[in-house]
């Protein structure tokens, strides 16, 4: 290693390590502060977060689910023939076990993660977090807890919605194109559905939601006061979340084979 590069790499690694500890601490602290949801004011922020992250994402998630389902079935049919069992297996492996959670998380990250990070960084820059504190409102209770919980709930629900759209939509389209009975698809899918894969998918979706919210909230709320820090903290939040999502997905893939 070049001597000149060494301190920079060390400093980067040290910052990264501190940040990862910070993400964990923020997530743990959010769980510890869940009692703040007794306040109607905080619950309203939670509902708003679910609306923006979950309900407003239904259309893009529907489209992505349909297209992914169609792509998976058409590619599998192209390579391995149009057998129902094979297509169902492809859907089960790719959509339920892998792509459903990851792609949903990526859609939420692109839509809401960036919005959360830039909104919090902007609030910090405008002195609004200080203002909340001066009103006797704990910024963590008011800003972080509803966002973390709202994103987790949204990713959890959207993942199932994505899987539903990819499975059902993909099968509808595939049965129309390849002249295979839709009922046969459904029957084969129901028989082949692995509930362990569903449970893993549930766990992954909650974890991915937590990762998106914690990383984006962390980089938003700890952004500097300068206006230039808003895009920078948003960009860092995006890159770090992407890295963590892929790493976690790889770890799940290895551990659950």
């Amino acid at each position: 290693m070049n001597k000149a590069e060494s301190p920079t790499l060390q400093s980067f690694a040290s910052h990264l390590f501190k940040d990862v500890i910070g993400y964990g601490a923020l997530a743990a602290s959010s769980v510890a502060h869940l009692g703040c949801l007794r306040s109607p004011v905080v619950r309203r922020i939670l509902y708003k977060q679910i609306y923006f992250t979950g309900i407003e994402a239904l259309f893009p998630v529907s489209m992505a689910g349909l297209l992914v389902g169609l792509a998976v079935i058409s590619q599998m049919s192209e390579v391995l023939g149009s057998g129902v069992a094979l297509n169902v297996r492809a859907i089960k492996l790719l959509v339920v076990r892998e792509l459903g959670t990851l792609l949903t998380a990526l859609i939420v990250l692109a839509r809401s993660g960036s919005a959360v990070a830039s909104e919090l960084a902007s609030m910090k820059q405008r002195g609004e977090i200080r203002a909340l504190y001066l009103m006797g409102i704990d910024p963590e209770d008011y800003l972080i807890v509803p966002r973390v919980l709202g994103v987790c709930i949204s990713v959890f629900v959207l993942t199932f919605y994505f899987q539903f759209m990819a499975t059902i939509g993909g099968m509808v389209v595939a049965s129309a194109i390849y002249q295979v009975s839709f009922v046969n698809y459904i029957a084969a899918f129901s028989a082949a559905l692995d509930w362990n894969a569903v449970l893993v998918s549930m766990a992954k979706s909650i974890l991915y939601g937590g990762i998106i919210a914690s990383v984006c909230c962390h980089h938003g709320i700890y952004a500097g006061h300068a206006a230039a820090m808003i895009p920078r903290s948003t960009e860092t939040a995006m890159i770090r979340t992407l890295g963590l999502l892929f790493l976690t997905d790889a770890a799940f893939a290895i551990l659950t084979v």
């Binding site: 004011v41 504190y133 008011y142």
Partner: protein
């Protein structure tokens, strides 16, 4: 309400001082940064270099987060820019601390807000228009007015105003002074501290003891 004992920061110090129940005091400093530093020290966001500060009987810097926030819930602050939350419309900004701490609802506070705005000659139509605005669309006067409305709904025990009259014309400053005075008189236990960068309006609108920061020369 506020007790300062030999308080000093890097570049300034302040004589020992007690703000009693029912009193109004002023603090003048030409520097906005020094004022912010003073208020942050007072409200437990910054540790003083020397001396002690107690607010409502508590040294906020050394309190646990939960107790510090519980004390701050009884303190109403109007920062220089109003301290409004930019993604909430004015009506939600006005209600925020009262709803958070006491579960107050919009319908319960509506008459208070309308009466307060009428007292400075604002029509119902203008008041309605103001309530649905986002803070970014407001003038400096309107931002401070909304922050004062927030205090009026919150009914804090201690009110702290940062540069309430600065950068405003005389009429606007007089309207805010009237509202702050009405709020002070509503509760005999209430105390208020005004800080400012402009000496004249502070002297004109606020009576009571004056705090003066003394600069510390660098060695």
């Amino acid at each position: 309400m506020i007790a300062l004992e030999h308080l000093a920061m890097d570049h300034w110090k302040i004589p020992s001082f007690n703000l009693q129940t029912g009193e109004v005091a002023t603090m003048f400093s030409e520097s906005e940064e020094v004022q912010t530093q003073f208020l942050d020290t007072l409200l437990g966001l910054r540790e003083p270099c020397a001396g002690t500060v107690t607010v409502l009987g508590r040294n906020l810097y050394h309190e646990r987060e939960a107790s510090r926030i519980a004390v701050l819930a009884r303190v109403g602050t109007v920062p220089e820019n109003g301290g409004l939350i930019s993604n909430l419309p004015v009506c939600e900004n006005v209600l925020l601390p009262a709803a958070y701490h006491h579960g107050s609802t919009a319908s319960a506070c509506e008459s208070t807000v309308v009466a307060t705005l009428q007292s400075i000659g604002m029509s119902d139509e203008d008041a309605m228009h103001l309530m649905v605005q986002l803070p970014d669309n407001l003038t400096l006067f309107e931002k401070r007015l909304v922050a004062l409305l927030r205090l009026r709904v919150q009914e804090p025990l201690l009110c702290i105003y940062q540069s309430l009259f600065d950068d405003l014309d005389h009429t606007a400053a007089a309207q805010l002074a009237q509202l702050a005075d009405d709020l002070q008189k509503r509760d005999a236990r209430r105390a208020s501290l005004f800080t400012g960068r402009e000496e004249e309006p502070l002297a004109e609108f606020c009576t009571g003891p004056r705090l003066t920061l003394e600069s510390i020369e660098s060695p």
